[in-house]
């Protein structure tokens, strides 16, 4: 046998065991490649997902009102836990929870249950190192409010899944929520991750800047808190708006509730603060002369048989300015007869009453304004002094801002986004609005709102006191009132419109006695804070330095 043949046979004998191996390899690599590759990826390749970021909420000066901090949550996979008691005992010192509670949660779980959320990085590291079977760890974002309860009624709150449940957090959820960054990683034999590449760079949204002023908000809440904590009223509301552009600077409510914003969601019978609508309608259409007198009827006037209007003080003859200063129901009911239902209704609608303002907050109330056809003689008279209708605090704030700025109704602005304010309409002539502003100054200087005075400054506004409907009898209560004051300052060049509403004040219940002092206190703090120069220099007096 020649050498070549022998070598070939030897090579064939040596390599023949490799043939089935090669065939097997070809089968795995060629025929089953896709299937096996997918299985391998499933076992070793992972996508590491970071928690989706959520944008900060800031005040108008960029100060943080809400922020998302990285945190971790841990859960139990019941299928992987053999002994819940041992599992609980092992985790108890790490989680800082009683072992019995962990065991109970594990037993109660269908398969999955959260054990703890909002964990710090230290807690996470300890748990990760402990490698407890059945325990899972996921990154999350914890929503924190560094100012505590400040503006929580406006901001709302975020649920455990990272979605807004109320307030701005809810209405702007889409804008605030970012997209999580995802990375492809491979797990080695020991379960350690090896970075491969970025699968999705994610998206971190820009902070959302509100028009709220943190300091003004604090002052508004502080002004309410004192009375609220002493139980001087059941519920209270204070709101501040910049009448020059409709920006909402503060929205405070007592008791604070992140799930509810009564400034937007509630409607109330305004009482005498609504008299400005009647007065403005009269002045704008010149249906009442400035010197024209109306009889106060001694404080009691029978409008129709069975319907009598009363004033809190017996009054004689009054002109329109005096009617406003003394807050005479009889006087204003006589004025509205002259104005007529159509003019009155048209102006009330022009102020935005009976329609939503378009505030970007959930559950806005449109209030209730009777249709023109329902404004009978009695209905019109009652409406002229703010009964038989309902307005939202936000509508009332906007209306007084319109008077403060010379007649322009702005859409309430909540976001400091650089966009120009939206002008809704002009409600009345500038001349008429100026006249009404002077009347409102008279209310503070000589009328029912004497306690709204701020030394050295001109302030304007109107008090309101309305009986509340008793929910049991469905009639006006004789003991529950809504006291309010709406005004603006400094009256020479208004910078703030302030609305104060107190539901069911205890003891004194007139708006001029309980709501106006809150306006004065808050107004003086704002004036001092901004260093606004006096627009009414006081007569020189001797003062002692403290």
């Amino acid at each position: 046998m020649d050498l070549g043949l022998r070598l070939t046979v030897a090579a064939a004998l040596t390599l023949s065991p490799l043939l089935p191996l090669g065939a097997r390899l070809a089968y795995l690599q060629v025929l089953r490649h896709d299937n096996l590759s997918t299985r391998a990826s499933g076992e070793f390749a992972r996508t590491a997902k970071e928690a989706a970021p959520r944008a900060d909420l800031q005040d108008r000066h960029g100060r943080v009102l809400a922020r998302s901090n990285p945190s971790w949550s841990c859960f139990v996979d019941k299928a992987m836990v053999k002994d819940p008691n041992a599992f609980g005992a092992k985790l108890s010192p790490l989680l800082g929870l009683p072992a019995s509670e962990i065991a109970r949660k594990t037993r109660a779980a269908h398969r999955f249950a959260w054990l703890k959320t909002g964990m710090t990085h230290g807690e996470f590291t300890q748990l990760a190192e402990a490698r407890v079977e059945g325990l899972g760890l996921v990154p999350a974002q914890e929503r924190v409010y560094p100012n505590g309860d400040l503006a929580r009624g406006v901001l709302g709150l975020v649920g455990a899944e990272g979605n807004g449940l109320a307030g701005i957090e809810m209405s702007q959820n889409k804008r605030l929520n970012g997209r999580a960054r995802r990375m492809d990683v491979i797990r080695d034999g020991q379960g350690r991750s090896i970075y491969k590449n970025v699968a999705d760079a994610g998206d971190e949204p820009e902070p959302l800047r509100l028009t709220l002023d943190r300091t003004a908000q604090y002052l508004a809440e502080e002004a309410l808190r004192e009375g609220g904590e002493k139980g001087q009223f059941k519920e209270g509301i204070v709101a501040i708006q910049d009448p020059r552009n409709g920006e909402i600077l503060a929205m405070a409510a007592w008791p604070p509730n992140p799930l509810r914003n009564p400034l937007v969601q509630d409607a109330f019978e305004p009482g005498s603060t609504f008299k400005v609508v009647t007065a403005l309608a009269a002045v704008d259409d010149r249906v009442v002369r400035p010197d024209e007198l109306f009889s106060g009827e001694g404080g009691k006037w029978q409008l129709t048989p069975g319907v009598t209007i009363t004033d809190h003080e017996p009054e004689g003859d009054m002109n329109l300015t005096q009617i406003m200063e003394r807050s005479s129901n009889i006087g204003v009911a006589k004025v509205v007869e002259r104005v007529g239902a159509t003019r009155f209704y048209r102006l009330a609608r022009a102020f935005g009453f009976g329609a939503k303002t378009g505030a970007p907050l959930p559950g806005e109330s449109a209030g209730e304004l009777k249709p023109l056809s329902d404004l009978t003689k009695v209905g019109l008279a009652a409406s002229s002094y703010g009964y038989g209708l309902a307005v939202s605090p936000l509508q009332m704030l906007g209306a007084y801002s319109a008077i403060a700025n010379g007649g322009t109704l702005w859409e309430p602005k909540f976001f400091a986004d650089g966009e120009p304010p939206v002008k809704v309409r002009r409600v009345a002539s500038e001349r008429a609005v100026r006249e009404i502003s002077l009347m409102l100054e008279g209310v503070v200087d000589r009328g029912t709102a004497a306690s709204a005075k701020i030394p050295g400054y001109r302030a304007a506004g109107k008090t309101g006191t309305a009986r509340k409907i008793d929910p049991l009898t469905r009639k006006y209560s004789t003991s529950a009132y809504t006291a309010s004051f709406a005004g603006f300052l400094p009256a020479s060049a208004p910078r703030w419109t302030i609305l104060v509403i107190l539901h069911e004040p205890k003891g004194a219940y007139y708006g001029g006695l309980v709501a106006a002092p809150i306006f004065a206190r808050l107004g003086s703090r704002l004036l001092a804070l901004e260093g606004v120069p006096s627009d009414r220099p006081a007569a020189p007096t001797l003062t002692a330095r403290r």
Partner: protein
Amino acid sequence: MDALMGFDPRRVAKFAGLGALLLFLCWQHVQATRIGYRVETTRREARALRSRVADLRLKVDETMAPAALAARANTKLGMIPATPDSLRSLSGAAESGGLLPRLWARLPLVGPSRS
């Protein structure tokens, strides 16, 4: 003889080159894995640091919250809220920079602390 044994220098060079390429690819793979571990470790460290920064930021924000500032101003410094008439505008005088205006600007306008 060389030709008989198949020892062609060019072929050897080709095999050597191929071998070097294989070695390079192996080395590259090992390096990529090593860097992958390092990236993961660094990512964890970055996450821990971000968490720490967030905690510190939160502390700053909580310290600067108006309620916290007001409480400290009142209890520690004995300050009281200013009223508009207790303020004196010194913009003209203070800016002139003279000794007397500066002294005047430093005069206390409120009494001693009430602690």
